[in-house]
Symmetry: C2
Subunit: 202 residues, 2 copies
């Protein structure tokens, strides 16, 4: 059975679309209302202000992203396996929402204070600490090469996320068309995993 989505849900979807595309500063309440097919006043009826609406949307998106990341890190598989799972899952998630990484990074950069508290409460760090411990363990045992865990983690994140963050620039600079880009990204998971594996193999 099909339940038609509630007005609140419709608004959320519309706002997500507009905010992600244009950022907080660039988004217009009017445009969100139009996208949702409702009156502008109704936005303020459900979410009292642009700020509130944005925070709701952002939290949801951010939580979803963090949730995805946690999953691959929390299993008790061997490190290399865990990293490759992470790459697979992270790139898959991004592929389904290609504009999200740039959106997140950009909005936090634009207004860090707004997020610091909210983000701290999400507690990503405990899980990461375990991940980092595992890295250090494998290094001690000589199974992978020496590299500070945080650098390795930044490397993994960057290799996964950067192409999507930079996609519009890459396409503009190279004149590449969408099809070519998609073919490139089709191989991305494999290439990233191979690259990391090679860099870590002792």
């Amino acid at each position: 059975m099909i339940v038609e989505p509630s007005t609140e849900q419709i608004i959320k979807e519309a706002a997500k679309k507009i905010f992600v595309r244009k950022g907080f500063a660039g988004a217009r309440m009017q445009e969100i209302a139009e996208e949702a097919g409702i009156n502008k006043a109704l936005l303020h009826y459900y979410y009292r202000s642009k700020e509130k609406l944005f925070e709701g949307i952002f939290s949801e998106i951010f939580d979803h992203m963090i949730g995805q990341l946690k999953q691959s890190v929390t299993t008790d598989k061997p490190l290399i396996q865990k990293i490759e799972d992470f790459v697979d899952r992270y790139i898959s998630t991004i592929e389904q929402n290609p504009y999200i990484p740039l959106f997140i990074v950009n909005e936090i950069a634009q207004n860090p204070d707004r997020f610091v508290e909210k983000i701290k409460s999400k507690q990503v760090f405990p899980e990461l600490a375990g991940f980092f411990q595992q890295m250090l363990g494998e290094m001690e045992r000589g199974n992978i090469r020496e590299i500070p865990p945080l650098h390795l983690f930044l490397n993994i994140l960057g290799l996964c996320a950067f192409p999507f963050i930079a996609k519009p620039m890459v396409k503009a600079v190279s004149g590449m068309d969408e099809d070519t880009w998609e073919m490139l990204m089709k191989d991305r998971k494999k290439e990233v995993k191979t690259f990391i594996r090679r860099a870590l193999m002792a």
Copy 2:
């Protein structure tokens, strides 16, 4: 001898600062005027509109970035050397303007059409083509491992730029302070070069 900068130059600097910090949509002409210590009308006297002002600023920044990149790629050193030069130079450039990469990537994403023509005329591609040829050569000779040049290039860019793009997020999530971050980045060049070298070593 000290020449006091021209009003035009003062405006440029002020606009650069504000635009880079807040993006096109978030920047206010009034704020730029205040930053430059002048009247708002004077902005329009020198640059007719916000759009024009922005385009001037963006072009300058973008050209400078591209120029830096070209230099390391255009020499006739061996590939690994060239890559390491590239990493050194690129990270140095970013360190001096940490907000630039996110700014560029974001503004292009926000309004790709505005840049496509202008960027095409910069012709980054010829230089890159040579770089890519060299990669393929080294692979054929078995000196480095197989990897599609464009993926390798994305990897290099991502490893260099991503940490700076994601810095505000990383700091917000981890609660890391500025000093710790700087210590982390102090090692970044070395870590990136090592990581790439290991990944490429046959």
